[in-house]
Symmetry: C2
Subunit: 442 residues, 2 copies
């Protein structure tokens, strides 16, 4: 395929969906939120003028305009650049985008700067996959190990994972047959999902009950609910869900960073009789040592520690992994520096035998994580000896119908995009963009 | 004093100084930079219309417009608010500003969001001190311990430092006489400083030599130079400086986050024959475990580890302290949530016996840190049994003449603002604002 195309125009959009109206997305810390995104379109000088690289980063409303402003400030870094040059040293390119010698002060490696870079990089990945006429997960699965390493950002990881060690991990374990077998598995059986759409904090007990029963009738068996504001409420809600789903179902809880370290342990202890599969974001996302303390206590209760959706960068993930601070790593596709930073993070998880259950919800996150979950299963994650299937991926789908290739997720299974569906599947429909965009610049 | 004034207007400015012309501020990571700031002016309904709270945050050029945009998005949170209500629960107010339920997604606790909140909070502190007709350092030194605790942000610190433990530390150790004695000491003898203005990476050997000799003739004895690009150059430069300053002088080096963990240890080993007092920012600023590894090795060479100027928040500092990852804590007055987040950080340093040497340079940083250094010495830091004087504060003064109350720092001593100089001493001169501001909104 011809990657020799030049980037000639970059459009950025501030898009807001009024989700706060129905309490979708409400939790112990964020209250009512309006799922939003900064959407980036990259145009090239290719003869096919329908070719547009589309990428986004997610926010929960106010502040989206700040991320868009940052995207606008970064545009000059990619204007006029040739795609073949970008992907030739893609990891270095991604790192240098976030490390403009002056703009890096806005991070480094986190916050608005990373969100903005991520939207741009996601659009570049989409452009690449569209030219290759493959969905992202197949683009990644089909890539040779050396090229995958070349796409990754390795700076400041060498003490735990050098590029050479990563390459050895990728190349030494998998045979071509094994890769093909797993691609077939993903194609035929999809990726297992759990749902968060049943347990937002703003939902009443009755509404939750109805939701869960509906999900169960469709075949779902794993559920996550929000906790962290009122302990007695949480005990009651957990009991209720456990009774509904029976002992075979999985129940996860999420307090969205609400608690102090010791508070987290106490609270989880009270909920644990309801057989909690994991506690998610128990405390401040940067608190590696805090998570380590919590994990050592709640593991005794059979509860796992999950975190990662707002983890700022690979260096924090490196420490989370090496310090035994988490059981479940919840990568996000719109927070760190796109797939370029996720590749080393997935390999760190593999090195430390940490299960990857990507973060979904919001706008476009589910559309992206299905690719990463499939890629991780096929090329990186150790096989789970008990199930030989990809681990659970989050699902909370309110806004998928705004995308040209909406999710195909039913009964607890993501049916991953078919081979003919090219790109990162986050191209917004023209009419949705027209209706929900509040500003655009190019 | 009457704090019952309402905030009626907030002005934000994007101010840029073309410092890249002379290679001021050049280092191993940031190359040529243009010192910039987002400057915030808070107007009230007080009868005295010359009363304006002025605060700033510092950046190194491109991206300053993104921070200003974020300030603009936060303005509605303080418009119409009464100052007396703000300072009554100042810590909570500061935390809630950065934790607007939607905007916190842009952090949390770091990057553009923290920089923007910091500019606003710095302006509120300035407003308060101007009404009290005291410099910030005296406002803080004169405050009772309970009020100081009330100004602090304590969320997510409880496992290492609860507000009660912090209060006990503040109240139990110091007598009123002791506080008075130290205030007198600071007033009469100032705060000891070291200079960074001699060793930017873009300076030639001859230029450095001249600079250092000039500084020495003025009485300076502690010098910091930039390293990290070329080992042989660094060895030569360190030797040259050591020969110039003799065995009595202090020499610090700073690589601005350039190195991998193991690389840092090797590089410092090569420089250590020149008797290096500290290595600053040896690796990624979020790498607590990396700093811990580096410290355990370079301490054997007599070299200390210093970091903190871009450390994103109190939770990262908490771990840096509790994990033995640093010897010298370089707080910054424009990076975290103003004095509200610095109070717990200073107390964490006290708890773990870590020396605080604040980060200066840029625009306005030296103007602010002199207050924090004096306050830390008077109310928080343990006495150094060998010297009974405040620890070294950074000095790199290129832009001080743009402020209405420029620094008074000569011969290695900061003469802290006199009692009659009210505020945080970061009020820019009208003519400087007119000349260097590129945009303003209100």
């Amino acid at each position: 395929m011809n990657l020799d195309v030049k980037i000639v125009k970059v459009r950025s959009w501030d898009v807001r969906f009024p989700t706060s109206k129905n309490a979708h997305g409400s939790d112990a810390v964020h209250g009512l939120v309006d799922y939003s995104c900064v959407y980036v379109q990259i145009f090239t000088d290719a003869p096919d003028d329908s070719l547009i690289g589309c990428g986004l980063t997610f926010t929960i409303g106010r502040g989206n305009e700040v991320v868009k402003k940052c995207v606008d400030s970064l545009k000059s870094r990619i204007m006029g650049v040739n795609l073949s040059e970008v992907v030739r040293e893609f990891g270095q390119f991604a790192h240098s985008l976030a490390n403009d010698n002056q703009m890096r002060w806005l991070g480094p490696d986190g916050g608005v700067l990373s969100l903005a870079c991520c939207a741009i990089l996601n659009a570049i990945w989409d452009l690449w996959a569209k030219i290759e006429q493959k969905p992202i997960w197949r683009l990644l699965c089909d890539m040779n190990s050396k090229d995958l390493i070349n796409c990754g950002i390795w700076k400041h990881l060498a003490d735990e994972l050098s590029p050479q060690e990563a390459l050895d991990m990728l190349t030494s374990v998998e045979s071509a047959d094994d890769i093909k077998r797993r691609i077939d598995h993903v194609t035929n059986h999809g990726v297992a999902a759990y749902t968060t759409a049943c347990g937002w904090l703003g939902y009443t007990d009755d509404y939750m009950k109805d939701k869960i029963q509906n999900f169960m009738s469709e075949g779902w068996t794993a559920f996550k609910i929000k906790v962290g504001v009122n302990l007695q409420d949480d005990i009651r809600r957990c009991k209720m869900v456990r009774e509904l789903i029976g002992s075979g179902g999985k129940l996860m809880v999420d307090c969205n960073q609400k608690w102090e370290v010791d508070e987290a342990v106490k609270w989880v202890r009270e909920l644990s009789p309801s057989d909690i599969y994991w506690i998610e974001e128990p405390t401040h996302p940067d608190d590696i040592i805090g998570h380590q303390k919590i994990k050592s206590e709640v593991n005794k209760l059979g509860v796992r520690v999950a975190t990662g959706e707002v983890c700022k960068n690979r260096v924090l993930f490196k420490q989370m992994c090496s310090q035994g601070a988490l059981d479940i790593c919840q990568i996000d596709c719109a927070r760190v520096l796109s797939i370029n930073e996720l590749i080393p993070i997935l390999l760190l998880c593999r090195k430390y035998n940490i299960t990857v259950c990507p973060h979904g919800g919001g706008v476009g996150l589910c559309e992206m994580i299905q690719h990463l979950a499939a890629f991780n299963y096929v090329r990186i994650a150790p096989l789970d000896p008990n199930s030989d299937s990809p681990p659970l991926v989050e699902h909370a789908d309110h806004l998928s119908h705004h995308f040209e290739h909406p999710l195909n997720c039913f009964g607890g299974v993501y049916n991953v995009p078919e081979s003919k569906t090219a790109g990162y599947t986050t191209t917004l429909k023209t009419e949705s963009l027209a209706k929900y965009a509040v500003s655009m610049s190019e």
